[in-house]
Symmetry: C2
Subunit: 118 residues, 2 copies
Protein backbone atom coordinates (compact mmCIF):
# COMPACT_ATOMS: atom_id res chain seq x y z
CA UNK A 1 0.00 0.00 0.00
CA UNK A 2 1.12 3.56 -0.69
CA UNK A 3 -0.13 6.62 1.15
CA UNK A 4 -1.61 9.08 -1.36
CA UNK A 5 0.01 12.51 -1.52
CA UNK A 6 -2.27 15.28 -2.76
CA UNK A 7 -0.90 18.40 -4.38
CA UNK A 8 -2.83 21.59 -3.77
CA UNK A 9 -1.29 24.76 -5.13
CA UNK A 10 2.16 24.93 -3.61
CA UNK A 11 1.48 22.46 -0.87
CA UNK A 12 1.34 18.71 -0.42
CA UNK A 13 -1.37 17.20 1.75
CA UNK A 14 -1.19 13.81 3.35
CA UNK A 15 -3.73 12.21 5.61
CA UNK A 16 -2.65 9.00 7.30
CA UNK A 17 -5.82 7.12 8.11
CA UNK A 18 -4.72 3.57 8.66
CA UNK A 19 -2.26 1.78 10.84
CA UNK A 20 0.87 1.79 8.74
CA UNK A 21 3.52 -0.89 8.72
CA UNK A 22 7.26 -0.33 8.42
CA UNK A 23 7.34 -0.96 4.69
CA UNK A 24 4.55 1.56 4.04
CA UNK A 25 6.30 4.15 6.22
CA UNK A 26 9.57 3.81 4.29
CA UNK A 27 7.71 3.93 0.99
CA UNK A 28 5.91 7.07 2.17
CA UNK A 29 9.19 8.71 3.07
CA UNK A 30 10.56 8.03 -0.41
CA UNK A 31 7.35 9.08 -2.16
CA UNK A 32 7.07 12.33 -0.23
CA UNK A 33 10.67 13.41 -0.82
CA UNK A 34 10.38 12.58 -4.50
CA UNK A 35 7.11 14.50 -4.77
CA UNK A 36 8.63 17.53 -3.02
CA UNK A 37 11.44 17.41 -5.55
CA UNK A 38 9.11 16.95 -8.53
CA UNK A 39 6.50 19.53 -7.60
CA UNK A 40 8.81 22.03 -5.95
CA UNK A 41 6.36 22.20 -3.04
CA UNK A 42 7.07 24.79 -0.38
CA UNK A 43 4.95 23.24 2.33
CA UNK A 44 3.61 19.89 3.52
CA UNK A 45 0.71 19.13 5.85
CA UNK A 46 0.70 15.65 7.39
CA UNK A 47 -2.59 14.96 9.12
CA UNK A 48 -2.44 12.30 11.84
CA UNK A 49 -5.99 12.68 13.18
CA UNK A 50 -6.85 9.06 12.52
CA UNK A 51 -3.62 7.66 13.93
CA UNK A 52 -4.35 6.47 17.45
CA UNK A 53 -1.00 4.98 18.24
CA UNK A 54 2.44 4.69 16.68
CA UNK A 55 5.39 2.45 17.39
CA UNK A 56 8.98 3.57 17.75
CA UNK A 57 9.92 2.77 14.17
CA UNK A 58 7.10 4.81 12.65
CA UNK A 59 7.79 7.64 15.09
CA UNK A 60 11.42 7.71 13.98
CA UNK A 61 10.45 7.69 10.29
CA UNK A 62 8.05 10.55 10.95
CA UNK A 63 10.74 12.59 12.67
CA UNK A 64 13.12 11.84 9.81
CA UNK A 65 10.56 12.81 7.16
CA UNK A 66 10.14 16.20 8.82
CA UNK A 67 13.89 16.84 8.94
CA UNK A 68 14.43 15.61 5.38
CA UNK A 69 11.60 17.70 3.95
CA UNK A 70 13.01 20.68 5.78
CA UNK A 71 16.42 20.08 4.22
CA UNK A 72 14.75 20.03 0.82
CA UNK A 73 13.14 23.38 1.50
CA UNK A 74 9.60 22.27 2.29
CA UNK A 75 8.11 23.30 5.63
CA UNK A 76 6.15 20.55 7.38
CA UNK A 77 3.11 21.09 9.59
CA UNK A 78 1.78 18.14 11.58
CA UNK A 79 -1.92 18.17 12.40
CA UNK A 80 -4.25 16.19 14.60
CA UNK A 81 -1.63 14.58 16.84
CA UNK A 82 -3.45 12.33 19.32
CA UNK A 83 -2.42 12.04 22.99
CA UNK A 84 -0.86 8.58 22.66
CA UNK A 85 1.07 9.65 19.58
CA UNK A 86 2.37 12.76 21.35
CA UNK A 87 3.46 10.61 24.28
CA UNK A 88 5.29 8.14 22.04
CA UNK A 89 7.10 10.93 20.21
CA UNK A 90 8.28 12.61 23.41
CA UNK A 91 9.16 9.31 25.11
CA UNK A 92 11.40 8.50 22.18
CA UNK A 93 13.08 11.86 22.32
CA UNK A 94 11.58 12.96 19.02
CA UNK A 95 10.73 16.48 20.08
CA UNK A 96 9.96 18.04 16.73
CA UNK A 97 10.48 21.33 18.49
CA UNK A 98 10.63 23.47 15.44
CA UNK A 99 7.69 21.78 13.76
CA UNK A 100 4.47 23.75 13.75
CA UNK A 101 1.40 21.76 14.66
CA UNK A 102 -2.30 22.44 14.24
CA UNK A 103 -5.66 20.93 15.03
CA UNK A 104 -6.76 19.87 11.57
CA UNK A 105 -6.04 20.17 7.87
CA UNK A 106 -7.59 23.63 7.47
CA UNK A 107 -5.67 25.02 10.43
CA UNK A 108 -2.55 23.32 9.15
CA UNK A 109 -2.83 24.98 5.75
CA UNK A 110 -3.45 28.31 7.44
CA UNK A 111 -0.36 27.86 9.60
CA UNK A 112 1.71 26.97 6.57
CA UNK A 113 0.43 30.08 4.87
CA UNK A 114 1.47 32.19 7.86
CA UNK A 115 4.85 30.50 8.28
CA UNK A 116 5.73 30.97 4.65
CA UNK A 117 4.49 34.52 4.69
CA UNK A 118 2.18 33.77 1.78
CA UNK B 1 -6.26 -0.97 2.44
CA UNK B 2 -8.52 2.06 2.75
CA UNK B 3 -8.36 5.12 0.56
CA UNK B 4 -7.85 8.22 2.74
CA UNK B 5 -10.54 10.90 2.55
CA UNK B 6 -9.38 14.40 3.41
CA UNK B 7 -11.75 17.04 4.69
CA UNK B 8 -11.00 20.60 3.69
CA UNK B 9 -13.56 23.18 4.72
CA UNK B 10 -16.84 21.99 3.26
CA UNK B 11 -15.30 19.59 0.81
CA UNK B 12 -13.89 16.10 0.79
CA UNK B 13 -10.79 15.37 -1.25
CA UNK B 14 -9.77 11.95 -2.46
CA UNK B 15 -6.80 11.07 -4.58
CA UNK B 16 -6.69 7.52 -5.87
CA UNK B 17 -3.06 6.75 -6.52
CA UNK B 18 -2.85 3.00 -6.65
CA UNK B 19 -4.52 0.22 -8.54
CA UNK B 20 -7.51 -0.59 -6.40
CA UNK B 21 -9.09 -3.99 -6.02
CA UNK B 22 -12.80 -4.71 -5.69
CA UNK B 23 -12.73 -4.88 -1.92
CA UNK B 24 -10.98 -1.52 -1.64
CA UNK B 25 -13.46 0.06 -4.04
CA UNK B 26 -16.46 -1.15 -2.02
CA UNK B 27 -14.81 -0.03 1.20
CA UNK B 28 -14.17 3.38 -0.37
CA UNK B 29 -17.81 3.69 -1.38
CA UNK B 30 -18.92 2.99 2.20
CA UNK B 31 -16.29 5.25 3.74
CA UNK B 32 -17.11 8.16 1.46
CA UNK B 33 -20.85 8.01 2.00
CA UNK B 34 -20.38 7.76 5.74
CA UNK B 35 -17.95 10.69 5.71
CA UNK B 36 -20.38 12.81 3.67
CA UNK B 37 -23.02 12.04 6.25
CA UNK B 38 -20.74 12.73 9.21
CA UNK B 39 -19.15 15.92 7.93
CA UNK B 40 -22.14 17.28 6.06
CA UNK B 41 -19.85 17.94 3.11
CA UNK B 42 -21.35 19.81 0.18
CA UNK B 43 -18.79 18.78 -2.38
CA UNK B 44 -16.36 15.97 -3.21
CA UNK B 45 -13.34 15.98 -5.51
CA UNK B 46 -12.10 12.57 -6.64
CA UNK B 47 -8.75 12.83 -8.35
CA UNK B 48 -7.93 10.00 -10.75
CA UNK B 49 -4.71 11.42 -12.20
CA UNK B 50 -2.68 8.40 -11.15
CA UNK B 51 -5.21 5.83 -12.32
CA UNK B 52 -4.04 4.55 -15.69
CA UNK B 53 -6.69 1.94 -16.25
CA UNK B 54 -9.85 0.66 -14.57
CA UNK B 55 -11.85 -2.51 -14.96
CA UNK B 56 -15.59 -2.73 -15.38
CA UNK B 57 -16.28 -3.37 -11.70
CA UNK B 58 -14.33 -0.34 -10.49
CA UNK B 59 -15.92 1.78 -13.23
CA UNK B 60 -19.36 0.76 -12.04
CA UNK B 61 -18.51 1.48 -8.40
CA UNK B 62 -17.21 4.90 -9.44
CA UNK B 63 -20.41 5.68 -11.32
CA UNK B 64 -22.44 4.50 -8.32
CA UNK B 65 -20.42 6.59 -5.86
CA UNK B 66 -21.13 9.69 -7.90
CA UNK B 67 -24.87 9.01 -8.01
CA UNK B 68 -25.04 8.08 -4.34
CA UNK B 69 -23.12 11.15 -3.21
CA UNK B 70 -25.41 13.25 -5.35
CA UNK B 71 -28.45 11.72 -3.65
CA UNK B 72 -26.95 12.62 -0.31
CA UNK B 73 -26.54 16.21 -1.39
CA UNK B 74 -22.83 16.29 -2.14
CA UNK B 75 -21.71 17.38 -5.58
CA UNK B 76 -18.90 15.30 -7.07
CA UNK B 77 -16.20 16.57 -9.39
CA UNK B 78 -13.89 14.05 -11.06
CA UNK B 79 -10.41 15.24 -11.95
CA UNK B 80 -7.51 13.93 -13.98
CA UNK B 81 -9.38 11.28 -15.95
CA UNK B 82 -6.86 9.51 -18.20
CA UNK B 83 -7.66 8.48 -21.79
CA UNK B 84 -7.96 4.74 -21.05
CA UNK B 85 -10.20 5.44 -18.06
CA UNK B 86 -12.45 7.70 -20.14
CA UNK B 87 -12.70 4.97 -22.78
CA UNK B 88 -13.62 2.31 -20.24
CA UNK B 89 -16.30 4.51 -18.70
CA UNK B 90 -17.92 5.31 -22.03
CA UNK B 91 -17.59 1.72 -23.34
CA UNK B 92 -19.49 0.55 -20.29
CA UNK B 93 -22.21 3.10 -20.75
CA UNK B 94 -21.23 5.02 -17.64
CA UNK B 95 -21.61 8.46 -19.12
CA UNK B 96 -21.45 10.57 -15.98
CA UNK B 97 -23.02 13.26 -18.10
CA UNK B 98 -23.94 15.57 -15.32
CA UNK B 99 -20.65 15.17 -13.53
CA UNK B 100 -18.29 18.12 -13.80
CA UNK B 101 -14.71 17.21 -14.55
CA UNK B 102 -11.49 19.15 -14.30
CA UNK B 103 -7.80 18.78 -14.97
CA UNK B 104 -6.46 18.56 -11.44
CA UNK B 105 -7.29 19.02 -7.78
CA UNK B 106 -7.02 22.82 -7.82
CA UNK B 107 -9.25 23.12 -10.88
CA UNK B 108 -11.63 20.62 -9.33
CA UNK B 109 -11.99 22.66 -6.16
CA UNK B 110 -12.50 25.79 -8.23
CA UNK B 111 -15.20 24.07 -10.25
CA UNK B 112 -16.93 22.89 -7.10
CA UNK B 113 -16.82 26.42 -5.79
CA UNK B 114 -18.44 27.69 -8.97
CA UNK B 115 -21.04 24.90 -9.13
CA UNK B 116 -22.09 25.47 -5.56
CA UNK B 117 -22.11 29.21 -6.04
CA UNK B 118 -19.70 29.66 -3.16
Amino acid sequence: MRIPILKLHNYLLISIQTEIDDQTAIQFQEDLLEKIHKTDASGVVIDLTSVEIIDSFIAKVLGDVVSMSDLMGARVVLTGIQPAVAMTLIDLGIHLQKVPTALDLEQGLLKLHQELGG
